[in-house]
Symmetry: C2
Subunit: 142 residues, 2 copies
């Protein structure tokens, strides 16, 4: 999660919402990415989506069942859906997102009967640092 | 929707789950794509996701608020989330997806309080042809 927090900080410096993500495959970090919505002019270019696409290329499979995802902010509905499609083994996230989150908030997708893959979920890791990055970013823009 | 159904049929011929999508911008078709999950070895390469990425490039904006999406099958949770992020004006889909759909089934995302964009939804257009394509595809694989 430390790597993901560094990536989130770099996102903030690049005027992106500070969210970072890391994928670990068989004990090794294979992807470290940050939110690139502004850079790519793409409202779907969340750190998790970029991490999933990169990891699938590296692993050479559309199924990441030996991978764990670390992300600094609770995944949204889109990303939760993508995480289920990708069959991650485990998802660790930092700060919760009461407005747009979809794991412990919102549609709580992994607990919903329409979700057909259930990764292990660990929340709160690095939450304080993640929240600080987000708060500083949004307060600087007001 | 006719174009989307042709794309869906082409997906089936390419051994992909037959789903097709079209984006219309200011009255013109700007994107016609099909599911490419198998070809790209990417479980997130649904027709809608590819359509959204392509449309954002063509329109030159991360917001597709002057665009309408036509897709032959009810969007899943991931795609519904992406559609909301992209701010589509209207979503027309064909067959409903009782197992993985997230518009009229599943998490019914656009009606959920955590969804902050509400496109106009039109369902059932071309549903019979879409269902036929899906049924033929899956029955041939059994």
């Amino acid at each position: 999660m430390d790597f993901a927090l560094v990536a989130a900080s770099e996102a903030g410096q690049a005027d992106e919402v500070p969210v970072g993500a890391v994928v670990v495959f068989r004990g090794k970090v294979i992807v470290t990415v940050r939110n690139r919505m502004r850079e790519l002019n793409d409202a779907t270019a969340h750190a998790e989506m970029l991490a999933i696409a990169a990891a699938m290329k590296i692993v050479g499979s559309g199924r990441l069942s030996e991978c764990d995802l670390y992300v600094t902010l609770e995944p949204c509905t889109m990303c939760a859906g993508a995480i289920a499609h990708a069959r991650f083994r485990r998802v660790c996230f930092g700060a919760e997102d009461k407005k747009a989150g979809a794991v412990e908030n919102g549609v709580q997708f992994f607990a919903h009967p329409s979700c057909h893959h259930h990764p292990e979920i660990i929340s709160g890791i690095g939450a304080q640092k993640s929240q600080e990055l987000l708060r500083d970013f949004f307060s600087a823009r007001r």
